[in-house]
Amino acid sequence: MTGIGEFAIAALICLSAFFLFVGSLGLAKLPDLMRRLHGPTKATTLGIGSLLIASMLFFLLERGELSIHEFLITTFLFLTAPVTALMVAKAHILCDKDVRKQLPPTGRQAGWAVIDGPQAESSEPDCA
């Protein structure tokens, strides 16, 4: 393995460690649940992302083989992280009365789905 490759892998691992730490710190430090959600959804993504790039580089330079599993892990992570965050946020809104009072109006006749439930629109169907 070349020195440059080794350096790049080490740098990526350090970067990922930094962002994973910051994401977890945000989860622990920020004062309320909605703000805490911001840490793990974002900072952690780049942390895992650069760790996986480091892993791909390592296998490419060390073993000379292309490892594709990292692409899949990244894709699945990008698909699942927002869904998890949405579910946590919805549960939080449903359970906490104070948060429900802070919510802005929808600007529509129907309220927010988690409180008022889904409502069919009278004028035109949802999906054209």
């Binding site: 430090k29 911001h38 900072a43 594709i68 899949l72 992280a81 946020a89 409502q119």
Partner: protein, 163 residues
């Protein structure tokens, strides 16, 4: 006949490719991937009746590149806010984003993008699916945030899913 056998051809293709990536290339995994690729869309088609329209691949690549770049920027911004600001001093609030998008697939993509990109997490959808509840970590100007989301992501998704 072909439509009943493959209700979602792109999903079939995706399942085969993902299966081959997961298990390594061999003819056995291609065959098993093809069986799964045909079976899973048929079994799940009652839950996903309409076939979404997908726009040009170039538009999708452009969108993916923009979102990836924004994710990197978002990470640095959020890291800065977490490390150098007291949690109480962050001006966090909920904002309402009125939606022009109509198809469920496009709205899902937009909500996911909002969660992954700078300082915003999507929290809920209005009962009729026409407005999105978004939580901003740090914002002075809610209207500007909403305008950015609409111009940067929503118009591009509209071109991909609804043209």
């Amino acid at each position: 006949m072909l439509k009943r056998l493959m209700p979602h051809p792109l999903l079939t293709l995706l399942i085969v490719v993902v299966w081959i990536f997961l298990s390594g290339f061999s003819w056995g995994s291609v065959v098993l991937g093809a069986i799964l690729g045909v079976a899973i869309p048929i079994l799940t088609s009652p839950y996903w009746p309409s076939r979404p329209h997908i726009g040009s691949p170039l538009a999708i690549v452009e969108y993916a590149a923009i979102v990836l770049w924004d994710i990197v920027v978002a990470n640095f911004q959020v890291a800065y806010l977490i490390l150098f600001r007291r949690g109480d001093s962050l001006r966090s609030r909920f904002v309402t984003v009125p939606l022009d998008l109509r198809t469920p697939e496009a709205i899902t993509a937009l909500a996911g993008t909002i969660t992954m990109t700078p300082g915003t997490v999507s929290a809920d959808l209005s009962g009729d699916g026409r407005a999105l509840l978004v939580h901003c970590l740090e914002t002075d100007d809610a209207e500007a945030t909403v305008a950015t989301i609409k111009s940067r992501y929503e118009t591009r998704l509209k071109r991909i899913f609804e043209k």
